[in-house]
């Protein structure tokens, strides 16, 4: 049985670093889409802010009432940003569905294909991963049920108890359970994607079944691999948020931009690190499986010797 050895954890990081162009590519696309999403609102805001002394309320601090008053203006400069973000998030979703095949193919093969081959792999796996995404939505239903049960317990305790803490503890516990389940589901589907690419499996239900078996048999090692990288991602994000919100001077737009974009870059990076680690883990796992099985050798070809031909009658 393959284990998520420290080697896999670090090898995955090395692989991600080696093919960091993939991380940069995903980040750049995300950034460009976000710029488009923000453009309408930013242009309108520029009209209101760029030649106004009152804009200092947002430069030398962040006056929440100034934002509130901007949102009440008849030309509504803040309105378009919400819908814009949603549309471009959907476009990014489609982009990631498309790209995942090529990304996984790169990690599985550990060689960067040519551009045409990369995009061929992207397109080759696109509809498979689209179907997998639909399966994922179905797989999330039980998680939603668990969340609903936790929510109902929270409401019930909240109604009955005068102290807020029992309900708060239920909320915390439910959140941990739901987060755990989400991670397990994501891990399962990650492995299904790896199998689909590695084994060129066209049938996603079979890929899911195989992935379920692999994850079940190697749950702790795989989950620990997945969780560690996730934790690093959360930690980096929290650190970045803390620096941005609490430590940077209100006027330092350049530093704020750098910190915020690093947060996104590292978030994407850790996600790719997970994919790379899973791909490496599965490659090692398959190699181990093949080594454990006796090598099949064909049966020796029977030697048919010609029967002796009698010369004459045999006398005594």
């Amino acid at each position: 049985m393959a284990a998520a050895r420290p080697k896999t954890f670090l090898s995955g990081a090395q692989l991600t670093w080696k093919w960091q162009r993939l991380v940069w590519w995903v980040y750049v696309v995300c950034f460009i889409l976000a710029m488009f999403a923000a453009r309408g609102s930013v242009d309108r805001l520029a009209e209101a802010l760029d030649h106004s002394v009152a804009a200092q309320r947002l430069v030398n601090g962040f006056d929440a009432s100034a934002i509130a008053s901007l949102s009440t203006l008849p030309d509504a400069p803040l309105q378009t940003s919400y819908t814009g973000s949603s549309y471009f998030a959907v476009i990014f979703l489609v982009f990631m569905l498309f790209s995942t095949g090529g990304i996984l193919a790169t990690y599985v093969r550990d060689e960067f294909p040519s551009t045409s081959v990369f995009f061929e792999a992207c397109g080759y796996h696109f509809w498979r991963f689209f179907r997998l995404m639909l399966y994922l939505v179905v797989a999330l239903i039980p998680v939603a049920i668990v969340a609903g049960i936790g929510g109902a317990m929270y409401n019930s305790l909240d109604d009955k108890m005068i102290s807020p803490f029992p309900a708060v503890h239920v909320f915390e516990g439910t959140s941990i359970v739901v987060l755990f389940l989400l991670m397990v589901v994501r891990l399962w589907f990650d492995m299904a994607q790896v199998i689909a690419v590695f084994e060129d499996e066209k049938r996603m239900h079979k890929a899911l079944r195989l992935a379920a078996v692999v994850v079940a048999k190697n749950f702790f090692s795989l989950f620990w691999l997945y969780f560690r990288i996730s934790f690093i991602g959360w930690l980096l994000f929290a650190l970045g948020l803390h620096v941005w919100m609490m430590k940077l001077a209100p006027t330092s737009n350049v530093l704020a931009f750098i910190v915020s974009q690093l947060m996104i870059l590292f978030w994407i990076g850790t996600r790719m690190w997970q994919r790379a680690s899973e791909a490496l883990w599965y490659r090692d796992y398959r190699a181990t499986q093949e080594a454990m099985q006796p090598v099949w050798t064909p049966a020796p070809t029977p030697v048919i010797e010609p029967a002796a031909v009698p010369i004459g009658p045999v006398t005594t």
Binding site: S41, A46, S52, S69, S81, G84, L93, F129, M246
Partner: protein
């Protein structure tokens, strides 16, 4: 500080009378005998108010059923100047029924605890049923007649009237006796229960107010509060011994009953309401404060989980007592009680009753969000604007909520600094900014002076009554000066406390103290819906002799003609200051009366314009758009870049979250 001589004279007179009143306010609690004493009490001290009513209530709480069985005696002193035979009464608890005017309006427009269209929850049912009523010994139970003076809702039972067999002569007293039963609702709006907490407000039959030569006794509406006469309250409450009680009165006796219950006896005078709360889960925190008058006992009853906010409440109370004592007048009572509702019971929070207020917090309230302090200050402020200056909250809600919102800004700024609403490194919110933002949510649906139940929606009521009034008064500081306005409020308080003044009284006081005719301002700000918006439409400089080609000589010799155009975008006319800056460091200050739709300033100088700004001191708070109040020739895109950073990051983050599905 500079005052007009009249103001100095008035201030001096008031200071002398305030000292005398402060001494008179130190009245020991006087239990027993529900006899209105309007002139001199038996101990020789003068009452603070004209005591028209004397309530004596004996109530028993069933904390399991959340019901109260009570008897009430009301002695009403007829000072109307006319014989009175018909008396109206409030039965506020009957508002918590689906067919009431209150619930109908809640369903239509929402209110504090409910959004519009909320389904009816049977737990929210409340009621007050009178099983027996007599007046001077005559049984009038069958004469109870429900009326609906404000609408045509015959199902609304929040007001009834009763006609006596004989009129009560002017100067005479009539004694009403009630037996009634309360059903408290699960708290939905101020009053009710949550878990083992009972907030008991507006719980007894309360007589209307004879005001402006007629009975004033409105139905309970979704966006109205209360109005009652001053008097005394002698209240006995029987409940289980394990209950911890906070009440708007002095505890004068406690008696343990053979059945294991206890009876608490409270006395309160020179107030117009009595409320109380009980819970076995309260933790009691006590402190005291001494100002220009008698010491004040501070009692805070904290619900489970909220202990971290206890000292925040106490400090906010002390700070508010100090600032109100310093700026507006002495606090004459010997106590102030704060009830902290339990989690889930926040609809009982943020409310005021004479000498009792309710707070608002959560178990995890961050220190940088000053919600407990703001609510405490605001509700304490109501002790002045409502409790003592007892305006008609139905008809002129702005006189208590609006003035109180303004003084909230001033007191919070004084106690906690400019960003007293929220103060994080990444975001700040000042009190005046919050009030202005509230106002701008619905700036032009209704005038401030609108009757409380006739606002377009509950949102508009809140936005205009609280936010716009505060913003109007903040802007008024620009006209008459902050110190003058403070003096005006001090005069208004000292002159009208323990009475029922009107908006006209307030405005006249401000005009009197400031020595200014402010009709032009209040007509627009209070009685109109005009919205103010001034803008710098244009500012540019051209060569004076623009038709001659520049010969490239010393540019400093070139003379430029500068035009600065200022427009009045809104309908509110207000004089504004305009400051124009030039690139040689010089400035030009203008004053425009704002009467026309626009004006243009012209300058011929050896300098070009750099910026033009309306109201550079940011005193005209009521202007709806600060961003068009100025124009700078050189663009400064830092604010735009900051917003772009935030929008781009938010979009990227939403994309990443959604990409989790891939």
């Amino acid at each position: 500080m500079r005052f007009g001589r009249l103001t100095c004279f008035l201030a001096g007179c008031l200071a002398l009378s305030a000292t005398a009143m402060g001494q008179a306010a130190a009245v020991a609690p006087k239990p027993g005998g529900a006899t209105p004493a309007t002139t001199t009490e038996s101990n020789g001290e003068k009452p603070l108010s004209t005591r028209i009513v004397a309530y004596a209530i004996d109530a028993k709480l069933d904390p399991k059923k959340h019901t109260i069985d009570a008897t009430e005696t009301l002695e009403y002193l007829n000072l109307t100047g006319q014989p009175q035979q018909t008396f109206p009464f409030h039965l506020y608890l009957n508002a918590f029924q689906p067919q009431s005017t209150f619930m109908t309006e809640v369903h239509r427009s929402g209110t504090r605890g409910n959004g519009p269209g909320s389904a009816w929850d049977p737990l929210h049912k409340g009621a007050i049923d009178i099983s027996h009523l007599e007046a001077d010994g005559v049984d009038l139970t069958d004469k109870i007649q429900f009326i609906h003076p404000d609408d045509d809702n015959a199902q609304d039972k929040t007001v009834f009237q009763v006609t006596l067999p004989k009129p009560v002569a002017p100067g005479a007293t009539v004694k009403f006796s009630f037996t009634f039963h309360d059903l408290l609702p699960e708290v939905v709006e101020r009053t009710g229960y949550m878990h083992d907490f009972d907030m008991v407000g507006q719980w007894f039959p309360k007589v209307g107010v004879w005001w402006k030569n007629a009975w004033n006794c409105h139905q309970f509406h979704a966006s109205t509060e209360f109005f009652a006469d001053f008097g005394t309250f002698d209240v006995k409450i029987t409940l289980p011994k394990n209950e911890v009680v906070g009440a708007g009165g002095d505890l004068v006796d406690r008696h343990d009953n053979p059945d294991g219950s206890m009876t608490l006896h409270y006395w309160s005078q020179d107030v117009h309401d009595f409320s109380w709360a009980a819970s076995p889960s309260f933790t009691r925190v006590e402190d005291s404060w001494t100002g220009s008058g008698q010491p004040v006992r501070i009692v805070v009853l904290i619900s489970p989980g909220n202990m971290p906010s206890a000292q925040r409440y106490v400090q906010a109370l002390k700070g508010s007592l100090t600032m109100f004592d310093k700026w507006y007048g002495p606090y004459p009572y010997d106590r102030i009680t704060l009830i902290d509702p339990p989690h889930g019971g926040s609809d009982a929070g943020g409310m005021e009753y004479p000498t009792l207020i309710t707070g608002d917090t959560t178990w995890n309230m961050p220190k940088n969000i000053l919600l407990p302090e703001i609510v405490t200050e605001h509700e304490f402020g109501h002790q002045y604007w409502y409790g003592m200056v007892a305006t008609n909250e139905f008809e002129e809600a702005w006189l208590d909520e609006g003035i109180n919102s303004y003084t909230e800004v001033k007191v919070m700024d004084a106690l906690y600094g400019k960003n007293s609403f929220m103060n994080f490194p990444f975001a700040q919110l000042s009190e005046d900014g919050a009030e202005r933002a509230m106002y701008l949510a619905t700036p032009d649906s209704d005038p401030i002076s609108r009757l409380g139940w006739k606002f377009y929606s509950n949102n508009s009521y809140g936005s205009i009554t609280y936010g716009k009034t505060a913003t109007v008064l903040l802007t008024l500081e620009k006209v008459i000066g902050e110190d003058t306005l403070r003096e005006a409020l001090h005069t208004y308080f000292m002159r009208y406390r323990f009475t029922h003044p009107t908006g006209t009284d307030f405005i006249k006081t401000v005009e009197e103290v400031s020595g200014r005719d402010l009709k032009w301002y209040f007509d627009q700000a209070v009685y109109g819906t005009q919205v103010m918006d001034y803008s710098v439409a244009n500012a540019h400089s051209d060569l004076l002799k623009w038709w001659e080609p520049s010969i490239g000589s010393n540019p400093k010799d070139e003379v430029y003609r500068t035009y600065v155009s200022v427009k009045r975008e809104g309908d509110f006319v207000f004089p504004v200051d305009v400051v124009v800056k030039f690139d040689d460091g010089s400035t030009a200050a203008e004053h425009w009366d704002g009467q026309e739709r626009w004006t243009r300033f012209q300058y011929d100088r050896k300098a070009k314009v750099v910026s033009a700004e309306i109201d550079p001191q940011n005193q005209v708070t009521i202007d709806r758009n600060f961003f068009n109040n100025s124009y700078t020739l050189n663009a400064d895109a830092r604010a735009t870049h900051k917003m772009r950073n935030i929008f781009v990051f938010a979009s990227e983050w939403v994309s990443q979250l959604l990409a989790w599905l891939t």
